[in-house]
């Protein structure tokens, strides 16, 4: 029987300690897609007004921001039918809100 290596194997997140692990406790990112929904990625929960969790069906979800989806809070593509237009994105990154 061989001796176990003295050095423990490095877990990959040790090497990228400053970056979140994919899947686990990943900070949420929200991307505004022009003339369309907000795409939400990461680890998050969506709750109903009474606080119940809406079971997630997929890793990346699209939240309606035009107001006409029949699947709210999710986008169902209806924004295209009503010609929903968003404003141009700001050209430069905005200063972060105080953390």
């Amino acid at each position: 029987m061989t001796e176990p290596d003295e050095q423990p194997a490095q877990r990959w997140d040790d090497q990228w300690a400053d970056q979140p692990a994919a899947g686990a406790d990943e900070p949420v990112s929200i991307t505004a897609y022009p003339n369309g929904p907000l795409l939400v990625r990461g680890t998050f929960e969506i709750l109903t007004p009474s606080g119940e969790v809406i079971p997630p069906r997929r890793k990346t979800v699209a939240l309606c921001r035009c107001g006409v989806s029949t699947l709210k809070p999710f986008c169902d593509g209806s924004h295209k039918a009503i010609g929903f237009k968003t404003e141009q994105e700001p050209p430069a990154p905005q200063p972060p809100l105080s953390a």
């Binding site: 997929r58 890793k59 699209a62 699947l71 593509g77």
Partner: protein, 347 residues
């Protein structure tokens, strides 16, 4: 899959060849196939509607997916089969380039490409199978709808997956994000192809891959073949990205209507879940496909810009032809399926 029927001399000659051993390929069979293919390609009136040539290509391509029952898997990369594919693909691609109406090309850029794709897909005035399904389709027509769809949907996402190793950078990540969702995030029972199979079984249809190949028209095979052709040629990676974008961008609302149609006909969630799932899924996918996949690809490799739109336009064009044919048959009170040839089996 079970070996489909031949539909003419080329597909019959191909099936004859595939019955033999690829290591001892009989040269007369191969020669016959080459001659018949060359003749058929020279004589075809419309390759998109050519039953024989589209069936031959479909058979050859199926070797790359689930294989053909009783056919040696080594035929997949056999030079005779590849030559057959190359010959048909050349004319097939040429026909698509000549006939699919191209929009004016935007400047390469994520925003401009996405906007132009939304414009192209939004102005698609193709026939509305979905509106017909929602309001008018009979139960029999709803079954036909699923049968026609089954050719692609039982291998949903597979043709676009060929493109993953052919892309780099942002476009690759975007394609993986979409495909992972198509494959149910790695959960078998949530894979879209599996959801479609559940829908088929829910209405009493056989969900075995390829079960209904013999009754679908050439244009349905052409639609599937087009995706495999775009996906499995690195040169056409722009086209497969554009195809996926256009497909996703014209999917959410139609799927809502399909679901409504099946509900109207009295089917429950087991049958409609596939469609309801696609309303939500494709509203996500279309954003990723238009901007992060097609937009990024055309920005990172501007020489692919034209092909992104070629792929999108071809998808809309071919599926438009298929939809028109389907609706024409239904409104005339006839079947949209073709009658399988029970008498003609390869000699």
């Amino acid at each position: 899959m079970r070996i489909p029927q031949s539909r003419g001399p080329v597909s019959a000659a191909l099936l004859e060849l595939l019955k033999t051993s690829p290591t001892a390929a009989e040269t007369d069979l191969a020669t016959t196939l080459r001659e018949l293919t060359a003749r058929a390609l020279g004589e075809t009136a419309d390759i998109l509607q050519d039953d024989d040539l589209q069936t031959a290509l479909f058979l050859a391509y199926e070797l790359r997916y689930s294989g053909l029952r009783g056919v040696d898997d080594d035929w997949e990369w056999h030079p005779e089969v590849l030559a057959l594919c190359a010959g048909i693909e050349l004319e097939f691609e040429k026909a698509l380039r000549e006939r699919a109406p191209m929009p004016e090309l935007p400047a390469p850029g994520v925003e401009s490409v996405a906007a132009a794709l939304f414009e192209l897909t939004g102005s698609d005035t193709g026939p509305s199978v979905s509106r017909y399904m929602a309001k008018k389709a009979t139960d029999e027509q709803a079954h036909e709808f699923l049968i026609l769809r089954s050719i692609y949907q039982l291998k949903e996402a597979d043709p676009h997956s060929w493109a993953i190793p052919r892309l780099r950078s942002r476009a690759k990540a975007a394609l993986v994000e979409i495909q992972a969702d198509e494959y149910g995030g790695g959960r078998f029972d949530r894979m879209h192809s599996e959801l479609f199979a559940r829908t088929m079984r829910g209405v009493g249809l056989d969900a075995t891959n390829g079960h209904y190949v013999d009754v679908v028209p050439a244009i349905t095979l052409a639609s599937s073949n087009m995706m495999t052709m775009f996906g499995s040629h690195r040169r056409l990676r722009g086209a497969i990205a554009g195809h996926l974008a256009a497909f996703e961008m014209t999917s959410s609302q139609p799927n809502r209507l399909y679901g409504n149609g099946f509900r109207r006909l009295g089917y429950d969630k087991d049958v409609t879940f596939y469609f309801d799932e696609h309303v939500e899924a494709d509203a996500v996918h279309e954003q990723i496909a238009a901007r992060d996949l097609a937009g990024s690809l055309a920005t990172d490799e501007p020489e692919l810009l034209e092909d992104v739109f070629f792929g999108a336009a071809s998808g809309l064009f071919v599926d438009g032809l298929a939809g028109t044919q389907q609706l024409d048959a239904w409104t005339a009170g006839t079947s949209a399926l073709r009658v399988a040839d029970t008498a003609s089996l390869p000699a």
